[in-house]
Symmetry: C2
Subunit: 727 residues, 2 copies
């Protein structure tokens, strides 16, 4: 790792600037403004005569103003790009075009602007000056420069390879448009990842937790290892052919394997959402992609940390290897803990204060606490992005239940907007980077090799893992699901952010270029091919899941009482043979216990009996679940609401959260009508709840997973209130 790139300078501003043809129209008033400022500057020139250094001051001031103006223009470029993207997305959605997703579109627009920037702007000289301060033998992050008696402070921005020192001045503008990689990690990724965690559909996620964990951890590791090894072969080949002269170690190949293993099937999931494809497949894909982002980020930093002792620094060293594994486990569990702890703290704060009377305060607190997770993890040397993911999951699981109705929609919408903007920004920046990034290394052999490797790497973990998982799963993962998962191996924002983070060495530059191309082609081709693929693989679509009702908050409160909104859809499709045990008409209670592993059951009952009552207003009172000698503590921690309604209140609420919230379709009471008696399920249990003194966790588990409908609904009275719009 070169020193320059390791430094974290000003990501917010160390940024992009230059005149843009696209902006020509917008920039007409600029000339006027310039004239004004020039006048001001000219008149200030008079006064400056008094001071001997006035002319210098003026020059610096003008330079600073110019730099500020250029920063504004370049940010404006990106905003214009995003605006254009939004308008075209609207057009696409309006005309129901599905072959190109908004992210693909953002990349295309980025590419166009990139081409314009690259070939359409004159290569004017920059504002830099080269100082030869050779008396020091290393670079410092801060520099105090004594310029004829005055001291100026400079901060390190990065190293420039010696060959490019001259080109720096030539391509000042292009260099400026490629902005600091840390922006991705510190500003753009956190909202994306948090939103992924916060919008996780818990029920389906937890039902497939084992498989998701297997795919995410084992799968990513296998994929990383296979891609790394294949690429090492490719690199060897390139050396033989004479295409590669620079250093390219085995660890570099593994690093490439790690960063490229982070899948991001954003376009596939968007189409799943739009077509209402199978929820289990959705959960598998979404869960895998969310977690393997976390795995990939930690894996890549562990590989960077793998540094064997001794002279032969790139040979295998068991001690260093285990140290890397230790670092992986340490960082991962540390980040996980940090995220979970912040989530729990937020849940406690929102539970024990009456903040919910003031939604603005509540939303602000929620936002700050979630952000602080990121900073806390970074401050502790863990990975902020991973912490934010688990914080999001915890917030959705606990805190969300304590929020006021208004704050729920506020927080959802806030993070939805942030997520949307950040994601589209990253993708349009990717398009831009293909032409404006200065250090591209296009190596055809490496690129072709990489495409083959990621294909094989994905195949080598999806199919074997699915085979082993199917041995233990009751809901088998069918061949069509496996093919679909194989197909959905898109690469996106995370791979890009990891690749751009360090582009100091030749090997890393080659990786970056290859990653960029892989992202482009997977997003475009796979994104466009999803709809045909779905029908070709016979995967059921049109599963109407009423997961978006609480978009309309006013309907929500009626809905909640009468309907369990997240239960299995009825068996209404031809491809259903794959998931035979899936309908509510199957064997009953026994199934769930077999299906969910003992560890999940253990966790569930612990969560239900202790965590939920402590952290939220729902669940059984602690006084009934805790042993008698904890009586006082239990009474303090249990909120009074629990005694009033001893029901599993609102447990399904957080499943309401939108997953890809760019399409708000409302489905009314489709589930209620689709499945007859199931509509009255929650209502009737809540009626029972009042009479029951102690609810067994096993019973609640069954109830919550949607089993035993017939039994329960035959006793209770269906409490389905008239729906405001559909009734």
């Amino acid at each position: 790792m070169e020193p320059g790139d390791a430094v974290h300078p000003s990501p917010w501003r160390a940024v992009w600037a230059l005149p843009l043809r696209l902006l020509l129209l917008l920039l007409l008033p600029l000339l006027l403004g310039r004239g004004l400022r020039a006048g001001a500057a000219a008149s200030s020139a008079g006064a400056a005569a008094e001071d001997s250094s006035a002319m210098e001051e003026l020059a610096t001031e003008k330079e600073a103003e110019e730099s500020h103006r250029q920063d504004s223009v370049s940010l404006l470029t990106f905003i214009l790009l995003l605006t254009l993207t939004i308008l075209t997305i609207w057009l696409f959605k309006h005309r129901r075009v599905r072959f190109l997703h908004e992210t693909g579109l953002a990349m295309i627009y980025g590419l166009i602007v990139g081409v314009i920037l690259r070939y359409g702007t004159p290569a004017t000289s920059g504002r830099d000056k080269s100082l030869s301060c050779t008396q020091e033998d290393r670079a410092f992050s801060t520099l105090l420069v004594n310029v004829s008696g005055k001291f100026f402070e400079y901060t390190l921005k990065g190293e420039i390879s010696p060959g490019k020192v001259n080109s720096v001045e030539q391509n000042d503008m292009l260099r400026k448009v490629t902005f600091d990689p840390e922006v991705f990690f510190n500003i753009l990724l956190p909202p994306i990842i948090f939103h992924a965690g916060y919008s996780l559909k818990k029920r389906h996620f937890f039902r497939n937790l084992g498989s998701i964990l297997a795919y995410a951890f084992l799968g990513t590791a296998v994929s990383c290892f296979i891609i790394g090894n294949l690429m090492y072969g490719v690199v060897k080949l390139m050396k033989i052919v004479g295409q590669l002269s620079d250093k390219f170690y085995y660890t570099d190949c593994l690093f490439f394997g790690a960063i490229i293993s982070a899948t991001d099937p954003v376009t596939v999931l968007a189409i799943f959402n739009e077509l209402h494809a199978d929820v289990d497949l959705y959960a598998l894909l979404f869960g895998e992609s969310v977690l393997n982002d976390a795995v990939a980020i930690v894996l890549s930093s562990s590989i960077v940390a793998y540094q064997p002792a001794g002279l032969n620094t790139h040979a295998f060293d068991a001690a260093a290897f285990f140290k890397s594994v230790g670092i992986f486990l340490g960082i991962f569990s540390g980040s996980f803990t940090m995220g979970a702890v912040t989530g729990v703290v937020t849940a406690l704060v929102t539970k024990f204060t009456k903040l919910h009377c003031f939604p603005l305060l509540e939303t602000a607190l929620f936002f700050l606490m979630s952000w602080s997770t990121f900073l806390l993890a970074e401050a502790c040397g863990f990975t902020g992005v991973v912490a934010v993911l688990f914080c999001g999951i915890t917030q959705a699981h606990y805190t969300y239940n304590n929020l006021s109705v208004e704050s729920r929609s506020r927080t959802k919408q806030l993070f939805e907007v942030l997520h949307f903007l950040a994601e589209n920004f990253i993708f349009s920046y990717m398009g831009l980077a293909l032409f404006t990034f200065q250090k591209h290394v296009f190596s055809p052999i490496f690129i072709i090799g990489a495409f083959v490797a990621i294909f094989l790497g994905r195949a080598a973990h999806i199919y074997p893992l699915s085979f082993f998982l199917n041995l233990g799963r009751r809901h088998k993962i069918g061949w069509n699901f496996q093919h679909m998962m194989m197909f959905s191996g898109l690469r996106g924002a995370m791979a890009f952010a990891l690749a751009i983070r360090d582009t100091a060495s030749y090997a890393r530059q080659m990786m970056f270029t290859t990653t960029l191309l892989i992202v482009f082609f997977t997003v475009w081709i796979i994104g466009g091919g999803t709809t045909p693929m779905l029908s070709w693989l016979n995967i059921r679509v049109g599963v109407e899941e009423p997961s978006e009702e609480d978009q309309n908050e006013h309907r929500w409160q009626y809905f909640r009482v009468g309907v369990d909104p997240d239960q299995d859809p009825p068996p209404n499709n031809d491809s259903f043979q794959v998931l035979q045990g899936d309908g509510p008409d199957s064997v009953g209670g026994n199934r769930t216990k077999q299906e969910s592993a003992w560890i999940f059951r253990l966790w569930y009952s612990f969560d239900h009996n202790y965590l939920k009552p402590i952290l939220t207003h729902s669940g059984p009172p602690l006084t009934t679940t805790l042993p008698a000698w904890c009586g006082l503590l239990a009474r303090c921690l249990t909120s009074p609401q629990v005694y009033d309604n001893q029901e599993p209140l609102r447990e399904e609420d957080s499943d309401f959260i939108l997953t890809e919230g760019d399409l708000t379709l409302t489905y009314g009471d489709s589930t209620v009508t689709a499945n007859g008696s199931s509509g009255s399920h929650t209502a009737s249990t809540s009626l029972e709840g009042g009479r029951r003194t102690k609810s067994s966790s096993e019973e609640v588990l069954e109830r919550d997973l949607g089993i035993g409908d017939q039994k329960v609904s035959s006793r209770g009275t269906p409490l389905v209130f008239p729906l405001q719009e559909n009734a």
Copy 2:
């Protein structure tokens, strides 16, 4: 202006760092993380032996990591501060404590942390190195440093006065905690100002527009001039007494007058909101404070631009003076135009696309367009903050009407949260800055003089201006209102941001310190004294204005049909003699025409007949208002909805926006019951509208301003639907 401070370096990161006692508990896991990282670093040390520069790399890497960690910790400090503030605010609101506003609270917490930072942390040496590169005679914004063959790029951060070069290394931490002033202007102020514009209660604002403009423009100019002259006297006195040795010109005094003339009665307005004080007084105060922020910012930059030619650079020069005035007018009108144009473009885009089917896209577009105003203005050399203000007003007036119901609440809530966070951040930073800012100059004479000057400056524009305004106003501004306006001269975020922008010279440092103290005392003392003052001045409170119904979106659609929600409240209070012509039972139509100036009426009819129909879905069809030869154009621009309902549809909607949205109290249908027949007003006109072929603008003006209730309501059928919660 010194060169160093004029440069705009990395505001996002050039930031704050250090261990905090408050954070001690939170930072325990840090040690663990540090251990991990140290392990990684140590193992990487082995491999580094291969390269001769490896040790340096390692050192730089570790330095960068440490710097990144410190950045996280310091940001975390601020987040913790905000979290603490939020929790305490909740407690205060919960217990109905009114003597201390949240901003005052944020300052107190900031002060406490500042004291801890200042006196509680050891003065460890920094990580800087001093290089003496004396071969150049000026500073450049970018530096290429050749360090033993490697090139490093440095960016200029600012100048350090020679006397402080040594102290820089000593107080590294404290220096870092005072972060870049441009952050305030580019990140924190825009959302605050935009929110102010977006949440303006249009009806009351426009009814008092003349007075507001007078207070904002004339008043600020008078105040600036008077304060400047008084302070010049104070400075002379200080020179005589021997308290001032450095330069302090007349222009500096005027500059101080400009920055300190920006009032920010945030605490007063919050209390007004809470107590539902008189709406006209609220409109006057809020409108004045919003606009005088804009005036102050442009005025101060015009004063900086005032640089007379010739040797005696600080004497009066007519040419330079008029140039300054020209700059003022140019920047102000330019910024105004820019903001209005962006708002209009957004309105057109939202009108002519069906974006409202996709609230997420709509919200994102709205956000981006609003932000682009800021950047566009900055890129053109205008003032982004001012442009954003007028953009907000335009968005509220036109675009808001085109948005979907969901986007309305989303945009409101988004900017509300941003505003809340930014405002509290600024105020807590102010508290912090009192102790951590390195260049304070406390001058008792100057500070006392400033307090006297701002008092006199405010008195000298409120009372005379009110006198002149009362000559033309039908609703006289009573003495109690004048006293209240006099009393509400708080200084806040804008004064601070303007003062901290340039603290290079001794004079500016003195101004900054004084501004900080003025903000503290005005916020604390005036904020605490508002409630007693209101009752002492006999200003009516408890005016129930149903301006917050559409908080509950589900009720809104019912409400809109039957009720004109923004009309005058009934005369129900003792202090009513002040506004005698205010009730709906007064003389009728004639009143409004007299009350509103002809220019306002002209604008109103132009707005109603042309702008609203072009930019929104409401108003009369253009085919009826435009001359016949524009038929084709008119048909293209008029939206089909207008023909369906030729009513002044939704014109009052944007008045719904919360002004100080930290308290969401709902008032149900209080207006409906409070004023009998007025409830059916809009509904009946909309029934009529269908029958009317051409609506005269004068008629609509009367209707919109709430006159002629009796006439209209006697003809129409009251269409008040049952309210969901109150019925």
